[in-house]
């Protein structure tokens, strides 16, 4: 029993559930009841039945209802509890095992042909793992599975975390304080700049606060009928001018410092996010689309930058101004100050009341905008497919629908702010009317001079700036928090294929051993089951089998793109998890089905595998791969740009460049996944012959559908349904007349039909 299950079991037992039950081996939660009345009547149904005149007959199907149910799984039986009542105890016979069946909207746990309990789909992963754990239990294996970590619930709201969510809590429950703290941590290198700019804010605010005081002196002392003291008048005017100039001058310096600081923060943040994404495993990265990741790295960091550059500076400035003016107003006339600040609590309450809604608004807007980015990235990456199927019109419509939806959400949000902001501004500014009445009354009654009124008006003008700013702050702050939470979600992600504390860095010989390896991508169907294979250094192993049997998965596991769920993979007798990933992959060269080339020159793409390679080496690798022949005919030779802003290579040319890249890498283990599939037979043969010399003394794993490609393999393995069905040399397997024989015969027949036609 896991710790989480034990806690749940004990707490329910305290509430009066499970009387007489011992602690089970495993425990499952379910929330649907498909039982018939005769067997089970939930408590509330019983009450309802009493009210009915004619209760339904026993055995009547109650239909699917929600219920609170738990199943206690023992080695020999399952006890099904619903609404605090034991509804069934089903014995498990020798050799029987639990299976999980995923339906449309529900998931069932089966024992043979019997349905034990049913739940909504959110439990699918848990049930799948439960069935696995039960098998392990019967086999006497260690029950805790590596993939247990894949089932993740938010520790705050207990909702299953959606794909892509990481950390302990889901994005809904992520603490705002924590996000701000993380943001503060990112500012480490720029804190001195920020502190300097805050000090300058103090200076600017101080200077700004002097100006109204000077205004009062000007009006009360010098602007009096018949009074002519021009020298003093000029001094005050000059002082006001000087205060203004000083304030603007310092503001310029402060803005420059802050822009430098915020840019520094954003560069660091972007670098950190990019580095993090690079370090995540392939499965982690694939949880999100490329468009979504780009949106986070570009847009969200820009939103944070904008907030730090524009809003943060104003926040400090306005806060200081608000406090300074507030104190002055209270010192001069506390009644007046109260009149001005009086409506603020109401505005504050409004802000609090709508805080969640505004947060939700920005979250929805973010999702919609991210969907548009993802769509654009998808379509532009797959533009050939779109064009070849002539679906431009359909994609136009989809794009229109997405942008319309995003626009609709924006409009709805803007409509909200169009009402919300003026109300807030009105509430914050209502004190001005009281002020007019009060100062007018005081002046008429002779208790306040014109100079003092002028000073108060100036201060009130100053304090309304901050008040209105705070009215707008909720909007920009919520937007920033939403973006920051998306960025930190990536930074908080746990690297699931991580190096150990002291990873091994050493040259490898090339022995590969797979021991009882099992792997699945989505906890639904096992891709590989109990695979055992030993490859000696220098051997070439051909992997064949139908599409989708796990050939590419097998080599991905050897490259440690994913970690195995069960069993282990050893290279030179050491588990690959012990090796430094960088060291391991630098000794494995792969030519994959996806012939990806980076933007840059052909030379850069080949030399990518070995940045310090000499030109001679690059040319030699290109020659072996058959790429040199077409490169020299290009006007720019090896300097030809490929990818974006460059020359478009054909499929075969791309494949030859990627082969050259792998050859230059000079790896101990060479992986060829349909490496020559895009080449004509003649070119393929030339490259195969060259490869034959190259793979001598290095371990090679090769996948090919064209079986003639594997004629030089030392051994062949045939994968079927996730396991190795056949193993041996070409001759041995042909003599066996099994799956391999069938595949070869099918291909021969296909070729002969082609020739005839």
């Amino acid at each position: 029993m896991t710790e989480q299950e034990r806690k749940l079991f004990l707490s329910l037992k305290e509430q009066g559930w499970f009387s007489g039950e011992e602690e089970p081996e495993m425990m499952a939660t379910f929330d649907l009841s498909e039982k018939r009345l005769a067997k089970f009547e939930p408590k509330d149904q019983k009450k309802r039945k009493k009210r009915r005149k004619t209760p339904p007959a026993r055995g009547t199907r109650l239909g699917v209802t929600l219920c609170e149910g738990y199943a206690l799984i023992y080695r020999d039986s399952v006890a099904v509890w619903q609404e605090g009542i034991l509804t069934e105890r089903i014995p498990i016979g020798e050799g029987e095992s639990l299976t999980c069946e995923i339906g449309e909207g529900s998931v069932s746990m089966l024992l043979g042909e019997k349905v034990l309990f049913v739940s909504r789909l959110k439990q699918k992963t848990a049930y799948y793992l439960l069935a696995k754990r039960f098998d392990d239990l019967c086999l006497g294996k260690e029950v805790e599975r590596e993939s247990d970590r894949k089932v993740k619930l938010c520790i705050k709201c207990s909702r299953p975390m959606s794909p892509g969510e990481s950390g302990e809590v889901c994005s809904r429950c992520r603490s705002k304080k924590r996000i701000l703290k993380q943001l503060w941590d990112v500012m480490t290198g720029s804190r001195l700049y920020i502190a300097t700019s805050i000090i300058l804010f103090f200076v600017v605010t101080g200077v700004n606060l002097i100006a109204p005081y000077l205004h009062r002196i000007l009006v009360d002392t010098y602007i009096e009928p018949g009074y002519a003291f021009l020298e003093g008048f000029a001094i005050v005017i000059l002082s006001i001018l000087a205060a203004n100039l000083l304030s603007r001058g310092i503001s310029i310096v402060r803005s420059r410092i802050l822009i430098n600081a915020s840019n520094g923060v954003i560069i660091r943040l972007r670098d950190e996010v990019f580095e993090k994404v690079e370090n995540l495993s392939v499965s982690n990265i694939q949880k999100r689309t490329a468009g979504n990741l780009m949106h986070r790295i570009n847009n969200d960091t820009s939103v944070i930058q904008n907030f730090l550059t524009n809003q943060f500076s104003q926040l400090v400035e306005q806060l200081l101004m608000f406090l300074g003016v507030g104190v002055i107003l209270f010192v001069y006339d506390w009644k007046l100050a109260l009149l001005i600040i009086g409506p603020m609590p109401l505005a504050f309450f409004l802000n609090l009341k709508f805080r969640r809604r505004v947060g939700r608004i920005y979250h929805t807007q973010w999702e919609k905008s991210s969907q548009v980015d993802t769509f654009l990235h998808d379509i532009f990456s797959g533009i050939r497919v779109v064009k070849s199927f002539g679906t431009e019109e359909r994609e136009n419509k989809r794009f229109d629908a997405l942008t319309y939806e995003e626009c609709r959400i924006r409009m709805r949000n803007e409509r909200f702010f169009a009402v919300f902001s003026p109300i807030l501004t009105f509430l914050l500014g209502i004190g001005e009317i009281f002020l007019l009445y009060y100062t007018g009354y005081m002046n008429l009654s002779g208790d306040m001079t014109l100079g003092t009124i002028s000073m108060f008006s100036s201060y009130v003008g100053l304090i309304y700036g901050p008040l209105q700013f705070f009215g707008r702050l909720l909007r920009s702050f919520s937007n920033m928090l939403n973006s920051a939470s998306k960025v930190f979600e990536i930074l908080d992600e746990k690297v699931d294929v991580a190096d150990t504390e002291a990873p091994i860095v050493k040259p490898i010989e090339g022995t590969i051993e797979l021991k009882n390896v099992a792997f699945d991508y989505d906890e639904r169907n096992a891709v590989l089951k109990n695979v055992n294979l030993t490859v000696k250094p220098g051997e070439m192993i051909g992997i064949v089998g139908k599409s989708g049997v796990g050939k590419s998965t097998l080599i991905n596991l050897v490259m440690r793109m994913y970690d195995v769920d069960e069993g282990e993979i050893l290279i030179d007798g050491i588990n690959i998890k012990e090796y430094s990933q960088e060291s391991l992959r630098s000794q494995i060269g792969a030519v994959l089905q996806e012939t990806f080339l980076f933007s840059g020159s052909i030379y850069d793409n080949i030399a990518y595998a070995k940045p310090n390679a000499t030109r001679e080496e690059v040319i030699a690798a290109a020659k072996v791969a058959g790429a040199h022949r077409f490169i020299i005919k290009l006007p720019d030779g090896y300097n030809t740009k490929v990818g974006e802003r460059g020359y478009t290579l054909s499929g075969g040319e791309r494949q030859r460049v990627t082969i050259a890249r792998a050859l230059l890498h000079d790896p101990r283990i060479l992986i060829l996944d349909e490496a020559t599939s895009a080449l004509d037979t003649e070119t393929e043969k030339q490259i195969q012959d060259a490869l034959q010399i190259l793979i001598k003394n290095r371990t090679t794993l090769a996948i090919a559908h064209r079986l003639s490609t594997l004629r030089n393999a030392t051994r062949l393995i045939v994968l079927s349904e996730g396991t190795i069905a056949e193993e041996g040399t070409h001759e041995e397997l042909m003599a066996k007349k099994g799956m391999y024989y069938d595949l070869v015969m099918a291909q021969r027949q296909m070729f002969s039909t082609k020739k005839e036609s």
Binding site: E617, A620, I632, D636, L694
Partner: protein, 171 residues
């Protein structure tokens, strides 16, 4: 080079010892001597392997059918024959060098240029300006016009201020 690659591939380097280039009409002909055996390849084509980086080094020599005969590591080794080879390469890679830009107007990505080059004042048009200017670092850039003709800015920082301002954005 890693040993295995060198085992498979033998790049024939053409040197004054194993090859003789001669002028044949307006073109270049090659005769090689390998293992005491003389072979006349007739008129050959010269192409730069790294046209953006090397002007007179790493030159591939192909026969009339486009098959590579060998590579010239450095033309300067050929001494007397070097001029023949350089002339041929300059003919193939005709790239006027821009020394001054009088005018450059970019409208919706289509630009017209009026420039002073080492062959005189020329005007040309460039489609999709950003994509047609390849910046090679160190201020060097190659501009390809609508017809495929190339113009080179050897060092943008050495252009006069007014010229530099016109191309700054694209480098």
């Amino acid at each position: 080079m890693n040993n295995t690659l060198s085992q498979i591939i033998e790049i024939l380097y053409l040197t004054p010892e194993n090859s003789v280039f001669t002028q044949k009409g307006d073109f270049v002909a090659l005769t090689t001597v390998q293992n005491g055996e003389k072979k006349d390849h007739g008129i050959v084509k010269l192409r730069r392997l790294f046209p953006f980086e090397e002007l007179w080094n790493d030159i591939t020599v192909m026969d009339a059918s486009g098959e590579e005969i060998g590579v010239i590591a450095s033309i300067d080794c050929f001494k007397e024959m070097a001029d023949i080879l350089k002339n041929e390469l300059e003919r193939v890679y005709f790239t006027p060098k821009i020394s001054k830009i009088y005018a450059m107007k970019d409208k919706y990505g289509f630009s017209t240029w009026d420039v002073e080059t080492d062959i005189g004042r020329v005007t040309f048009s460039v489609k999709d300006t950003f994509r047609s200017i390849v910046s090679l670092g160190g201020g060097r850039a190659i501009i390809t016009d609508v017809d495929g003709s190339r113009y080179e800015i050897v060092d943008a920082s050495k252009l006069d201020k007014s010229s530099y301002k016109k191309v700054e954005l694209y480098l």
